[in-house]
């Protein structure tokens, strides 16, 4: 390997294609991650509620779903959804981006449901007992007492999930949906350079997730300070 040449190539690639990587690629990557976590959180909340429900079949369905998703590789799920969804729902025919997004959302929902469930269960049981012994109903206890405290556990974990998904979206490049890894493949095709685009993408992924995780740490600290007040 000739490092001087590689270095020159990286600079050249960057000057020529920086907008492909940084703008187009990151736009797809981050928007896909945001979309995934947003809908993942909504569906994940519902799964968490099912999992804590008093009705056994709801509990079972939620548990089986979570375990299935968490017990199979994400890339395999992407393939499954990518090929099965258009068969099941004709509307999704040749809508690769949507299929991939749905797969990511279904995957994330399982993990988010666990985040929410453990966030709720981490609230001291004494809080529930105190509220219920005042005559407050289950739902009032949930909305007034449990959830406001659980949010402090859930929000930072949800942000970490966003960071994880940002990296996981790279798997979706298998289907050429335009994210940062897809840009790597495109540039590689145009320039016949393999190594250099990867280095650029790695640097961008690293910088973005590094900044994001620092922000989460900041958020976490502020939330904990809220506790002490």
């Amino acid at each position: 390997m000739n490092f001087a040449v590689i270095g020159q190539n990286i600079v050249k690639l960057w000057l020529k294609y920086w907008d492909k990587f940084l703008i187009t690629g990151m736009e797809y990557t981050l928007s896909l991650a945001a979309l995934t976590v947003f809908f993942g959180a909504i569906i994940g909340s519902m799964i968490a509620l099912m999992r804590m429900s008093k009705i056994p079949p709801l509990r079972w369905i939620a548990a089986v779903y979570t375990e299935l998703i968490r017990g199979t590789p994400m890339l395999l799920q992407l393939y499954l959804f990518y090929f099965a969804l258009p068969q099941l729902i004709p509307f999704l025919n040749r809508k690769q981006y949507l299929c991939v997004a749905i797969a990511l959302i279904c995957n994330s929902a399982a993990y988010v449901s666990e985040i929410i469930r453990s966030g709720i269960q981490a609230v001291d049981i004494g809080q529930t007992e105190a509220a219920r012994s005042l005559g407050m109903s289950k739902s009032l206890t949930m909305t007034e007492i449990i959830l406001p405290q659980a949010v402090k556990n859930i929000l930072p974990a949800l942000c970490n999930e966003f960071i994880m998904i940002t990296k996981d979206t790279s798997l979706a490049s298998t289907f050429f949906i335009g994210d940062l890894m897809t840009q790597v493949l495109l540039v590689k095709g145009a320039t016949y350079l393999t190594f250099e685009p990867l280095v650029i993408a790695a640097a961008i992924y690293f910088v973005v997730t590094f900044i994001l995780s620092k922000l989460v740490a900041l958020l976490e600290r502020r939330m904990r300070r809220g506790d002490i007040r």
Binding site: E129, A130, R132, L134, M136, D227
Partner: protein, 248 residues
């Protein structure tokens, strides 16, 4: 039959855990009259907390009945929330809501359950806080308070519901020694004012002084129930004698 003086009647209550592996209560019966102060004593694991928590159905008995104001709370058709309003409960670890101020802690249930308007609840809260000398803490969060202050606020929070009975589960066990008295003093005042109280306690001096009746529990059963003088000075049951020789 039930005299109108009777507030709580517990009949043959059994509470099992882990599908019968643990029998926390093994056939307990007792009555609590209006205005009466009942202390429950016994060694650790004897079932005192379970007994107390069955009274407001925080633990649902495996079998038996709990009549409150003549209504069987163990009946599945009873709306327990309506009855819990009339039974204040105070916990060992206070369980104040940390994300709410002292005043919000006090006002929350009366306002949300539509028993009082906001203004009424606030006025009541101020009156109660003034009574315990903590009015200036109204807008503080619980973490700014000492243990004794927290527990007194927790008592006041329960009182704001204007309950017919107050249930205490070792209210001073988690406190530093120098804070025990401020809580016991408040409980003493309540008793003097005629509040019906059931108190699980390790404070034998307090039980002797304030209780009208003391109940000794062991192995999930009520082994002796008597006036404090008789129970402490002339214990009958050998287990009680053994217990008293250790704690007195």
């Amino acid at each position: 039959m039930a005299t109108n003086n009777e507030l709580i009647r517990v009949v043959d209550v059994v509470k099992e855990y882990n599908k019968g592996e643990v029998k926390a209560l093994n056939g307990c019966s007792l009555t609590v009259n209006r205005g009466e102060v009942v202390a429950i004593v016994g060694s650790s694991g004897s079932g005192k907390s379970t007994m107390l928590r069955c009274l407001n159905m925080l633990e649902v008995p495996t079998s038996g009945h709990i009549y409150f104001d003549g209504v069987d709370l163990a009946d599945k058709n009873v709306d327990i929330n309506l009855h819990r309003r009339k039974m204040g409960m105070v916990f060992q670890h206070f369980n104040l809501f940390p994300h709410k101020t002292v005043m919000q802690n006090i006002m929350l249930a009366p306002v949300h359950l539509k028993l009082k308007t906001k203004a009424e609840a606030r006025a009541k809260g101020e009156e109660l806080l003034k009574r315990i000398g903590l009015l200036e803490k109204a807008n503080e969060y619980p973490n700014m308070l000492s243990g004794g202050q927290k527990q007194r606020i927790a008592i006041v929070r329960a009182l704001a519901m204007e309950p017919e009975v107050m249930l205490f589960d070792e209210p001073t066990s988690a406190l530093d020694p120098e804070m025990v008295n401020e809580v016991l003093d408040l409980m003493r005042d309540l008793a003097k004012a005629g509040m019906t109280m059931v108190v699980v306690t390790h404070e034998m001096g307090f039980a002797r002084e304030v209780a009208d009746r003391v109940i000794f529990m062991d192995g999930g059963q009520i082994l002796e129930s008597n006036t404090p003088e008789k129970l402490f000075d002339h214990p009958q049951n050998p287990r009680l004698k053994d217990f008293l020789s250790k704690v007195l």
